[in-house]
Amino acid sequence: MIYLDHHAATPLAPLARRAMADALGAALGNPASPHAAGRAARALVERARAAVGSSLGARAADIVLTGGGTEACELMIRGMPRPSRVVTTELEHPAVREACRGWERAGVEVRWLPAACGKPPSPAQLSEALTPGALVVVQWVNHETGTILPVAAYARACGRAGARLVVDAIQAYGRLPIDVADLGVSALCVASHKVGGPVAGALWVDREVPLEPRLRGGGQERGRRAGSQDPVVAAGFAAAAEALAGRLERMAEVADWRDRLEAELLAAGAVVNGAEAERVPSVVNASVPGWRSDILVAALDLEGVCASPGAACSSGVRAPSPVVRALYPAEEDAWRADSALRLSLGPEGLDALQVDAACAAMRRVLRRRFG
C-alpha cells in the first residue's frame, strides 16, 4: 500500500508510536487526580503542552489541548469575544466554515471573501471588508490544494483596521515554520494527526485575549476546555511536536516526490489546481479530464494507492470540491471540481521507491481511458 493521503491523517511516526506504547504500559490515572497515577498522566499531558508550545514559539501555558482539529477550530472561533462582524474566505475547511456559520446563527454578519483565478483573496480584498472589532478567520494553508494564504500580510491589514485575526494552521503545521511571537494573530490552531501524531488538536491563544470555553465541566485546561485529557494520545502528540523541526527539514525531499507525482499527472493531460499561487510541498491537487474523483480514487485504491478526492468526507455523499470550485468559479471550469484528485504526502513512511510505484500505478489506471 502506498499512502498518499497525509493531509487527511499522516501515518503514525515511529517516535510517536513508541511514546504511546510506553504510555499504554505505564500505570496512568486521570490527569486531574492528585495521586501518583494521576501525576504520571498529568506529566504526559504537560509534556505535550510544552512540546506544542515550543513548536509554535509560544509559552506552554497559552496552549489548550483539544480532542481534534474541528474542536480546536470551534473553540478558536466561537470562544472569541463577540465580534462586530466575521470575515473569512471561501476556501476554508468545513470545520471553520461551520463555526463561522455559528456566529451567523448568533446574529453576527459573516463576509465570505471570494477566491479566483487559482489564488486566495488578496490582503487588499481583506482590508475592504474590515471594520473595527471584526473577527477574521483564515486558514494558513489550504487543505485540498496546499495554497499558502498570505497570513502575515492579512495580520498587518487587521492590525491597521483594529480587527482580530485567528488562524487555522492545521495544514501549515509541520509544512511551514510557524512562530506566533511576531505574527500579530490572536489565536492559531494545529493538529497532531497531520504531523505524525495520533488524532488530537491544540489551540494557541494570546494570553491577552479572553477565551470563552465551548465545553464546560471540570476545570481542565485552566477552565478553557473541560474534559479528561487522554495521556496516551498526549504522549504521541508530544513526540510528534518534539520532532517537528526535523520534519520541516525533510520537506525538501517531499517536494521532490510531489513534483514527480505532479509531472505524471500533467503528462496524462491533468490540470493542477492552485498552481497559480505559492503552495506547500506536501500536496498536489489535479483534475484529469474525463475522470471523476470518486471513480479515480477507487481505481487507484485497487492498484494499492491511497488518494483522496479532496477533504476527507465521512458522510459518504460525494460533492464536487468546494475549494476547487471557489478557486475556479467560471462555468467552463466546473468540471475541475468534479474531477479533483488530491495526492498528499509527507516524510512518514514514504520513500522514493514508493513514489515511483505510485507513478506507475497512475499510468496503468489513466491509460484505461483517453480523455
Binding site: 475522470w291 470518486d294 471513480i295 477507487a298 485504491d301 485497487l302 459518504g316 455523499v317 460525494r318
Partner: protein, 353 residues
C-alpha cells in the same frame, strides 16, 4: 489477483447482491463491491429503502465480511436524467412508466460497465435472477434466459441491456431459487442474511407517485373521469398516478358494478367495466432486440413484471413490433415494457404504445 480476474459486483445492500458477491469470492474472483448512490431519500422515507445510507452501510459491512474493497459511486445526476425525469414525463403523458427497465439499461448496467472498465474489472456481476448462455458466434454472442426461479425471474428488466454489456455480465443467482439464495446468505454468514426484500420503487418508497410528481414538477393539469360514451363521472387533479386497470382512488364511488381505468386520453381518464380491460393486441415502440427476428413468429409476451409470459404471435415492424395474444390479456398498459420470450429466452422487447 483472483484466478478468474477482477469483477465489479453491484451491491445494493440487499441479500441478493450480497450473496452474488460472496459466491464470486468463493469461486476465486477478485471482487470489487460498488454501491451506486442514485437518490437522496427525503424526510421520513430514509429508513430501509434503496439508496438510503443504511443500505450503503449494509453493502460496506458485507464487503468487510468478505474481505473485499467497497466503493460508493455517485450516479445521482445520471439517475435523475435517465430514470427519474423520463418517469415523470411518462406519468404526465398518461402512461405508466417502467423505470426499472430504464435504470437497468442506462444507469445500472451501461454505466456500471464503464465504471468497471475504469476500475480495471473485466466483468460486471449483479444479484439479478436471470441467466446468460454463451450464444452462437456472430449474431447472438450471448443469450439472456429467465432465472431458474420463475417466481423471482428478473429477465424482464434486462431486455434493453446492450449485448456488448451482457457479454461482460455474470448473474451468480440465475440458477438459484430465492430460498436457496437466502440459505446461502446464512451459510456464508452474511450480516444482512435476514434483511427483507425491497419491492417498492426505490425513489418513491411510499408509492405515492402523485405526491412525488407534484413535489418534483408542481401541480398538473386537472381533468375529468368519464366513461367511454363521454359521460363525466368525476374530476381529478392530474393524470399522473392513474394506471390502466386501477380500481381504487378514482373518485367515482357510488353504487353499481366496479369501474376500472381503461385508458387515459389527454387529461381524460376513461373508465369502464372489468371486462373491457381485456384486449388481444398491442403495439410496442422503442424496441431493442437481443436476437433480431427474421420475420413474424410465435412466442410469449410479458406485459408487466408480475405477468406470466402469454402465448402470442409477434410481428416485427419498422419502428417496433405488433403482438396478437392467443387469449386476451388484462390491462395492457401504455408505457410498460412488453418483453418477448421464446421459451426461457428473452429475444427483445419494447414499450407498449
Amino acid at each position: 489477483m483472483g484466478a478468474k480476474g477482477r469483477v465489479l459486483v453491484a451491491m445494493s445492500g440487499g441479500v441478493d447482491s450480497s450473496v452474488a458477491a460472496a459466491l464470486l469470492v468463493e469461486a476465486g474472483w477478485q471482487v470489487v463491491g460498488v454501491t451506486l448512490h442514485l437518490w437522496d431519500a427525503e424526510g421520513e422515507q430514509k429508513v430501509g429503502r434503496c439508496c438510503a445510507p443504511e443500505d450503503r452501510d449494509d453493502a460496506r459491512r458485507t464487503c468487510e465480511h468478505l474481505g473485499v474493497p467497497h466503493y460508493v459511486i455517485d450516479e445521482r445526476a445520471s439517475f435523475r436524467r435517465d430514470v427519474v425525469e423520463p418517469f415523470l414525463d411518462e406519468y404526465r403523458a398518461g402512461r405508466t412508466p417502467s423505470p426499472c427497465v430504464h435504470c437497468n439499461r442506462t444507469v445500472k448496467l451501461l454505466r456500471l460497465a464503464e465504471i468497471a472498465t475504469d476500475l480495471g474489472c473485466s466483468h460486471v456481476a449483479t444479484g439479478h435472477y436471470a441467466r446468460l448462455l454463451q450464444g452462437d458466434e456472430g449474431e447472438a454472442p450471448v443469450r439472456l434466459l429467465r432465472g431458474r426461479d420463475l417466481a423471482k425471474d428478473q429477465s424482464y428488466f434486462l431486455f434493453g441491456v446492450p449485448p456488448a454489456v451482457l457479454g461482460r455480465m455474470l448473474f451468480p443467482l440465475g440458477d438459484l431459487e430465492k430460498e436457496a439464495s437466502r440459505a446461502e446468505a446464512r451459510r456464508l454468514g452474511l450480516p444482512n442474511a435476514d434483511k427483507p426484500d425491497s419491492q417498492e420503487l426505490c425513489f418513491v418508497p411510499d408509492g405515492d407517485v402523485r405526491a412525488f410528481s407534484r413535489r418534483e414538477r408542481g401541480p398538473s393539469a386537472p381533468g375529468v373521469v368519464r366513461d367511454a360514451h363521454g359521460e363525466v363521472l368525476g374530476r381529478h387533479e392530474g393524470v399522473e398516478g392513474f394506471t390502466v386497470g386501477q380500481r381504487k382512488g378514482l373518485g367515482v364511488g357510488g353504487g353499481g358494478a366496479p369501474r376500472y381505468v381503461l385508458r387515459i386520453v389527454g387529461s381524460d381518464v376513461v373508465v369502464g367495466s372489468g371486462d373491457e380491460l381485456y384486449r388481444h393486441e398491442l403495439e410496442a415502440v422503442g424496441v431493442r432486440w437481443l436476437r433480431a427476428p427474421r420475420g413474424a413468429f410465435d412466442g410469449q409476451v410479458r406485459i408487466r413484471y408480475r405477468h406470466e409470459p402469454a402465448p402470442a404471435h409477434i410481428e416485427p415492424r419498422a419502428e417496433g413490433f405488433h403482438v396478437r395474444f392467443e387469449a386476451p390479456q388484462r390491462a395492457i398498459t401504455p408505457g410498460q415494457a412488453a418483453v418477448v420470450y421464446v421459451g426461457d429466452e428473452v429475444l427483445g422487447g419494447g414499450f407498449i404504445a
